[in-house]
């Protein structure tokens, strides 16, 4: 699956981190690091993490992979 986080918008609340700890990590106090293409099996975790973000900075692709991608 694919995600991207708008790190301009992200304010380091880190609500998302415990909900998907293998996908999202804090580097120091405030700098969020993440896996942009985590395994599909983590989808539920990632969707919960995205929903928890107070500033809604996490964009999760909701298309299935059958799309017309090159």
């Amino acid at each position: 699956m694919r995600i991207v986080i708008d790190l301009n918008r992200c304010q380091g609340y880190a609500q998302c981190v415990p909900l998907a700890p293998t996908v999202l990590k804090l580097n120091g106090e405030e700098a969020l690091m993440y896996d942009p293409n985590p395994d599909d099996s983590l989808r539920q975790q990632v969707l919960r993490a995205a929903a928890s973000c107070p500033v809604q900075a996490i964009l999760v692709e909701r298309l299935d992979d059958k799309g017309e991608k090159p």
């Binding site: 304010q11 969020l32 090159p70």
Partner: protein, 467 residues
Amino acid sequence: MKASALVADLVTEFKTNGRIVIVGASLAGLRAAETLRDEGFNGKLTIIGDEKHEPYDRPPLSKQVLKGWVRADHTKLPRTRTVEAEWRLGVAATGLDRASKQVRLANGDLVPFDRLLIATGVRSRPWFNPKEAALEGVFTLRTSDDAGRLQAALATKPGRVLIVGAGFIGSEMASVCRELGLAVTVAERAEAPLVGALGGVIGDIAAQMQRDHGVDLRTGVSVEALEGDARGHVRRARLSDGTTLDVDVVVASLGSIRNTEWLEGAGLASGFWGVACDAGCRAFDLHGVVTDSIFVAGDIARAPHVLYDYQFLVLEHWDNAVFGGKVAAHNMVSLEPDRRPHLPLPAFWSGQFGVNIKGVGVGPFADEIVITQGSVKDRRFAAAYGRRGRIVAAVTFNHGKWLEYYGALIERSAPFPPPPPGYDQANGNKPVPARFPDPRVPTGFPDVVLTGHDPTARGAEYRPKKQ
């Protein structure tokens, strides 16, 4: 038929049967394509990209990818919708014929368009000596392929990494090297890291941060030559202060070059400064007259900004690509008065040495800086930049929640030094010179380069020296 009805028919016809070509298959191009479909463009859409990869995100490359946590080919961008485009990937655009409205591709194909979006971005500036650049172990970082190669080299535990250039990317790479336990030297021509974007006051803090984390930081020096061994692998670097270094990996982090060569002869206001356009993303021609069918977005777009005396600014920032792409797409399928301006408050971030650096506004536009909140010693503070009594930029170190406060002040041209935020004030700090390098001197860090109103004249100050 009334003229207004005729125009409305034309718009409907264009949205149904028009042809739009997007050159550049990265963040700006992708978001533009999605917006075109969102706005009801049902005609033929072609996306051309010189890399073979579908659109991917670049900021992770210098961080989690180099660290080895995320694979280089695992930063593909999420799509917000299907775009039903013809993707021409792995083939560069090599020419534009505005008279016949065609884009020429490297394989000789011609792609006709009614409207064109230029989103070809930038590439990394190569090491200046081609023979030395060809040595094994010498890298630049811009693409996912670059990142994959460099990550593999770092994973072999090289004895020492040399990073030439301490801008954001160079500093981030140095941070990753230290996190990996690698010995790393950073050579920077300026007095400190990040001075091009943030000035010398913040640069001194960034320098201390690097040294605290064990980076061998050398400032005020340039790297004059690289030497290889018998097998053609880089082994030594000679610095301008006469010292030599034993190195196994060298990364040239010398800023970027804008991908405008393919537009030569097209008669647009394009050159080393990018492609000049209006705030509605419409390209200017060579004479500074706005075009009707050619639009520009992303790192390559140079547009006047109302907050900064209408100076033409290039903003090599992530959200400038997102929002610029969206506005360009909207305006490609809209007529006056429905066109929108792209008036971003510039914003960026960088993660390095465990510190989240975030900024808004255009620092190099300022002449003064004041630390407004927090503690520099704790690497947790906010600072505001001012020019002639008004706030024009702000930066935070691990203090990102405050950035909105400063962003709002910048947007309404509030006084500098800014009014206190209410609490968490750094007591008694007075504005001091921000110590930006003279903008007339090319710095090797052209993150935001300012020019005057006329892109074909005033911009010439920034042409890099011919090697």
